[in-house]
């Protein structure tokens, strides 16, 4: 065991590099997924069939095909047609497309969940369609989306482990290397579990903070500052008359 630990200690810089690659894939993929989710989610609600049809198709296609296959297709098949992408760009693109398709459904559902009266009030004030979405509907839908987006983000993090197979040196790759040098599967994969869990936990904390802030902006729940304060806040002054 002490051998294992010293091997791990020596390999820590490489673990750091692995974590950086995994985070690049996760955050890059998540950013792309969020943009696609918003575009495809809004597109899925469009009145025009020319917008709605393609949006629905893209969502169904990327939701319905395996992430591994998409990743390999981008990395090994596209070059056949003369498009060669760096491994990292490929990984981010595959993760973004796949989770963007799932996210589109979250966006669509959350927008539909904003009460009809909010749309009507915005129309009554003659706010234009873009303004109505940006200033009235999306801020409210955002608060509804976050818990589901957190789920997707964690899945995306774990999905990013596939990047090892398109030659990226991410956390998963590091675990493989550790297993080879220690010859101890139990030790290496347990380290792997813990590293992924730690990363997922940090991401979850970040998303929870976003959720608290989003809800507070809608006038429900405490502010982030109140939550982060060490002493618990008495839950009396909040809530008000509805």
């Amino acid at each position: 065991m002490s051998d294992n630990l010293s091997t791990l200690r020596d390999a820590l810089p490489r673990l750091g590099e692995g974590v950086v690659v995994t985070l690049q894939l996760t955050l890059g993929g998540a950013a792309l997924a969020l943009v696609l989710a918003l575009l495809l989610g809004l597109g899925s609600r469009a009145g025009s069939l020319w917008v709605r049809g393609p949006s629905r198709f893209v969502v169904e296609f990327f939701r319905g095909t395996s992430l591994v296959v998409q990743l390999f297709w981008l990395f090994y098949v596209l070059p056949v047609f003369g498009f060669r992408m760096e491994s990292l760009a490929c990984g981010i693109l595959a993760l973004g497309l796949n989770y963007g398709a799932y996210g589109a459904e979250v966006v669509r559902g959350s927008i539909n969940a904003v009460p009809q009266g909010q749309w009507e009030a915005a129309t009554a004030l003659d706010l234009g369609p873009v303004h109505r979405l940006r200033r009235v509907i999306l801020p409210q839908a955002w608060a509804l989306m976050i818990p589901m987006l957190t789920n997707l983000l964690i899945q995306l993090l774990k999905g990013s482990a596939l990047a090892t197979y398109i030659l990226l040196h991410d956390v998963n790759y590091f675990i493989e290397q550790l297993r080879r040098s220690t010859q101890d599967t139990f030790f290496s994969y347990t380290v792997g579990l813990l590293v992924y869990f730690a990363l997922a936990y940090v991401l979850t904390l970040g998303m929870n903070a976003l959720e608290v802030r989003a809800k507070n902006r809608l006038g429900s729940g405490p502010s982030l500052r109140e939550v982060l304060r060490v002493a618990p806040v008495p839950a009396t002054t909040r809530g008000g008359a509805a």
Partner: protein, 284 residues
């Protein structure tokens, strides 16, 4: 409550303000609202079946009738929250959502539709304030982004209106911290901030506790007394209808079965359906 009604000359109405209590439609004048053969169906249910009626500028018209008689549908058509299946609606003589061109009923382009919609404001039963904005932000959002007022200018006007509805101290409050009655008064201020020529009031007190209904109605009474805004009111508050409106229309199955001034309507209705309805509502 101080007198803080803003001058109405900023409104591009093009006509001199009608007297606040016009009692009859002036012959020859362009009505503020005109329905011509308006049809509205929800599935197989025909709510309005070729409805014709008009409202003169400055009129305060209360629509009464059993639920499902089409009153709220009329307001929603005027706010473009519903689309008519037939007929046309004119606001100040301008076609709103549809017009007759070359003998055919065609849609009015969105740009012109918006120009007409801008003259119409609405207060809802469920208030519908934006929870992601403060009270002040709710009121200045549309004046800034739709009318193009500067923030400072919009804020001054919003503060006047908040003062008028008795909520000057709630300027920076979140909507969720307000009671229902307060929320509805903010919603009234928000609608007035757009300087509407026509104000639609859709059962604005129905979601409120009885003891705060009077506050909201008091605010609306003052609006009625100090402005010449044309009002269409759907309400079950018969006393309010009596105080504020100069015309009452009784609807049944999408048709006007009786029309009279409030005094006549509430004391000596002639139509059998009106008598039945008022007996049920007034509870005697």
């Amino acid at each position: 409550m101080p007198e803080t009604t803003a001058p109405r000359d900023a409104v591009p109405s093009g006509t001199a303000p009608a007297p606040a209590r016009a009692t009859t439609t002036v012959q020859g004048a362009v009505p503020a609202i005109e329905f011509q053969g308006v049809v509205k169906r929800f599935g197989d249910n025909t709510v309005l079946d070729g409805l014709d009626f008009s409202v003169a500028k400055g009129d305060r018209v209360t629509l009464i009738g059993p639920s499902g008689s089409g009153k709220t549908t009329i307001l929603r058509l005027l706010m473009t929250l519903e689309e008519a299946d037939g007929g046309i609606i004119l606001v100040d003589g301008d076609p709103y959502t549809h017009e007759i061109r070359g003998g055919k009923r065609v849609e009015v382009p969105e740009k012109r539709r918006r120009a007409v919609r801008r003259r119409v404001g609405m207060v809802f039963q469920q208030f519908n304030l934006f929870p992601n904005m403060s009270v002040l932000e709710n009121i200045i959002e549309a004046p800034m982004h739709v009318l193009g007022l500067a923030r400072a200018q919009a804020t001054v006007r919003a503060e006047e209106l908040l003062d008028q509805v008795g909520l000057a101290d709630k300027r920076d409050a979140r909507c969720t911290q307000l009671s229902g009655g307060q929320q509805q008064r903010v919603a009234i201020a928000r609608a007035l901030a757009m300087d509407p020529e026509i104000l639609l009031l859709d059962e604005v007190t129905s979601a409120l506790d009885p003891e705060i209904v009077a506050d909201v109605l008091g605010v609306l009474r003052e609006v009625a007394e100090t402005t010449d805004i044309t009002m269409l009111i759907v309400t079950h508050e018969m006393q309010f209808a009596r105080d504020v409106s100069n015309r009452v229309l009784m609807f049944d199955h999408g048709r006007i079965v009786e029309e009279a001034d409030p005094e006549t309507m509430f004391t000596s209705p002639t139509h059998e359906r009106t008598q039945e309805f008022l007996r049920a509502v007034l509870g005697d």
